[in-house]
């Protein structure tokens, strides 16, 4: 394992690798700065081109997109009050009022410093956790893997905003769609309705682009925000770089709070399905709780920016570790990483970290390397990147739509793909609009084939009682209803507590 760690580290001594990662970092930052498109969008558009590429080359590039969009989004949030990425929304609360007071660069300095420090810390925590996780993963055989996949689907369904039932239905729709085409075990074609096109099933690339790329683009022009006023593009004190260093100093002045919110963000990231947009709010709330001036929160307190952004960035390492070690994505972006793993020929699931240890370490270290690169770029020219926000939405739509279609056609070249893609986009839009969870659907689709494979392997090897064949299996089986009904159980306990405390008083 130590060998793999250093082997992964050596990967970054290659100048070509560093140059490629720097380019990916720049693109990630630009995607982060632009409201509407996100780092996840960059990953999705890249997916069709990664088929057959060396995972050691392409996966770090994808990680760079995922890791640097957050810091890029912080700039737009602080200076314009528009979240570049949804997870940057918490930074607006105090970052934007600071900009109005002429302390925008101070907030940027604090956010950028927090971003790279928290990313770095989360990678250190994640690397430290690998030796603890490996012995558990070693126990995983077909039955455990099969149940782990089911647990992953439960997790992503359970965290659905709104109806949990709709989350589960979404995952099951994904599972059902994954069964279209030839079945590996029997060679029988299912649900093809006589069409040769469907013999290979629905392509993963089309599914991801159809569910996440095209609906986002249509949403951009349908829900067009009013253009940013010209005066907002050059906030007060924008070129006072002394303010930037004041922000850097602020982070070290509140080092204890930074560390605590970083640890919180990391833990939230490790918990599958919770990460995403939850962690910055937890960090913000903690910063407010432990501040000496909580009354100034919301009026431009730098602690609010540090708390929100440290938790937001610290989740990346934990999120990635869970995705690689257990095959459970912690957030939407990690669903795309799972898709990327499949496309480069790596089976997602508990075995990734065991079978591809060097690659896993490289991916984790990439988070640290690219966040430092992102910090250098943002310290130097972060505020100037605001000019990108002026790019009208119609340009983004007009040039990204052909890019997405060409991406699909470049994948396997069938022209039918573009019609299926448009159809998936329309259906996905309706499902999303009516409360269905597209991440759960795509998760069900990605993991469906693996689930079927391991299910039959478990049935063949152990028999119908495979789900109680080991303590891990039993634990996983018990965890499923607990995951699904966690909120109900928590509410029930809370109700009982309230009842018990009210009774003596009454």
């Amino acid at each position: 394992m130590i060998d793999s760690f250093f082997q992964a580290l050596l990967h970054f001594t290659n100048p070509q690798v560093l140059l490629t990662l720097f380019a990916a970092t720049l693109i990630g930052l630009i995607l982060g700065v632009l409201p509407g498109v996100t780092g996840g969008f960059g990953i999705i558009v890249l997916l069709p081109f990664i088929l057959g590429l060396d995972p050691m080359f392409i996966l770090p590039i994808i990680i760079a997109f995922a890791a640097t969009a957050g810091p890029g989004g912080a700039i737009t949030s602080i200076l314009l009050g528009i979240p570049g990425e949804p997870s940057n929304a918490a930074a607006i609360l105090d970052g934007y009022p600071m900009t109005k007071k002429g302390e925008g660069l101070r907030a940027v300095g604090a956010a950028v410093t927090t971003c790279w420090m928290s990313n770095l810390a989360s990678v250190v925590f994640a690397l430290g956790m690998v030796p603890l996780i490996v012995p558990i993963i070693m126990q995983f055989k077909a039955p455990e893997t099969c149940l782990m996949i089911a647990v992953a689907i439960c997790f992503i369904s359970a965290v659905t905003r709104g109806s949990r039932l709709k989350g589960l239905i979404s995952a099951c729709i994904g599972l059902l769609l994954s069964t279209i085409g030839f079945q590996a075990k029997t060679g029988v074609a299912r649900f093809t309705f006589g069409s040769l096109y469907l013999y290979d099933g629905i392509g993963l690339i089309m599914m991801v682009l159809g569910c996440f790329a095209l609906p986002v683009l249509v949403e951009m022009i349908a829900e067009e925000e009013p253009p940013v006023p010209q005066e907002a593009m050059s906030p007060k004190g924008m070129h006072n770089y002394r303010e930037l260093f004041r922000g850097v100093q602020d982070v070290f002045r509140h080092f204890g709070m930074w560390l605590r919110t970083t640890i919180m963000g990391y833990i939230v990231g490790v918990i599958p399905g919770v990460g995403g947009e939850t962690s910055p709010w937890i960090g913000y709330a903690h910063a407010k709780q432990c501040s000496k001036n909580p009354e100034t929160f919301g009026e431009g307190n730098v602690e609010g920016v540090i708390g929100a952004e440290s938790a937001n960035n610290a989740k990346t390492g934990g999120d990635l570790l869970t995705t690689l070690a257990l095959g459970i994505p912690g957030s939407g972006k990690m669903v795309f990483i799972l898709a990327a793993l499949v496309l480069v020929g790596i089976q997602p699931g508990p075995w990734v970290i065991m079978r591809h240890t060097t690659l896993a370490f490289t991916m984790l270290q990439t988070v640290a390397v690219t966040s430092i690169m992102a910090a250098i770029v943002l310290y130097a020219c972060g505020p100037y990147m605001l000019k990108l926000v002026q790019a009208p939405i119609i340009y983004q739509f007009a040039f990204l739509v052909p890019l997405v279609y060409i991406s699909v056609n470049a994948g396997d070249g069938a022209i039918m793909d573009i019609f299926i893609l448009a159809l998936i986009a329309i259906v996905a839009h309706f499902l999303k609009k009516h409360g269905y969870f597209l991440s759960a659907l795509v998760m069900g689709f990605i993991l469906g084939g693996l689930f079927e494979y391991y299910l039959w392997q478990s049935l063949d090897l152990v028999g119908p009682t495979f789900f109680i064949s080991s303590p891990i299996c039993i634990a996983l089986l018990i965890s499923m209803p607990l995951i699904l009904y966690y909120e109900d159980i928590r509410d029930w306990i809370a109700r009982r507590r309230t009842k018990n405390t009210e009774l003596p008083a009454g």
């Binding site: 239905i169 349908a222 119609i394 739509f397 448009a422 329309i426």
Partner: protein, 155 residues
């Protein structure tokens, strides 16, 4: 009772799932049908529970406000652009389709004159051609019309 659009979508999901489920009777091997049957069964059971909840709650359709209708129209137009582009690509290939899409999109948006829209469209198409055909050597669809006419372009 006029049902909400949420309920209609759920009913459509249940109908499609039922259709998929009925197809399973055509296969005789359990190895072929187990996972799809489980997926169909779960969707039907969970969907039925959800539907029951929605019907008991008595959720009925409310008349949408003007702003929501306007947004829906914009979504409809957005998806029309997607489908229109797909049809254009199918007929005249990626390069021709992209040029036409960019020209019409910018021209009809009213932000630029038709001449300027044409120039942007030509420039955009050239960038796509250089990136994908020339540089990445991608074999893009040349269009059914081009194939019928047996023309050859460097696509």
């Amino acid at each position: 009772m006029k049902l909400k659009s949420d309920t209609w979508v759920l009913i459509a999901i249940l109908a499609v799932t039922l259709f998929f489920g009925l197809q399973l009777f055509a296969y005789d091997s359990l190895k072929t049908t187990l996972v799809p049957a489980v997926a169909c069964g779960l969707i039907l059971v969970l969907g039925a529970v959800q539907l029951r909840g929605e019907l008991i709650a008595g959720a009925t359709a409310q008349a949408g406000d003007a702003a929501a209708k306007q947004t829906n129209t914009r979504y409809f137009v957005g998806f029309c652009w997607l489908v229109g582009y797909a049809i254009a690509v199918y007929l005249i290939g990626f390069m021709g389709g992209t040029f036409l899409f960019l020209l019409l999109f910018f021209g009809l948006s009213g932000k630029h004159t038709w001449l300027k829209s044409g120039l942007i469209a030509a420039l955009g198409t050239a960038v796509f051609w250089l990136s994908f055909v020339y540089w990445l050597q991608t074999d893009l669809w040349s269009g059914i019309v081009v194939r019928w006419l047996n023309l050859s372009f460097p696509m």
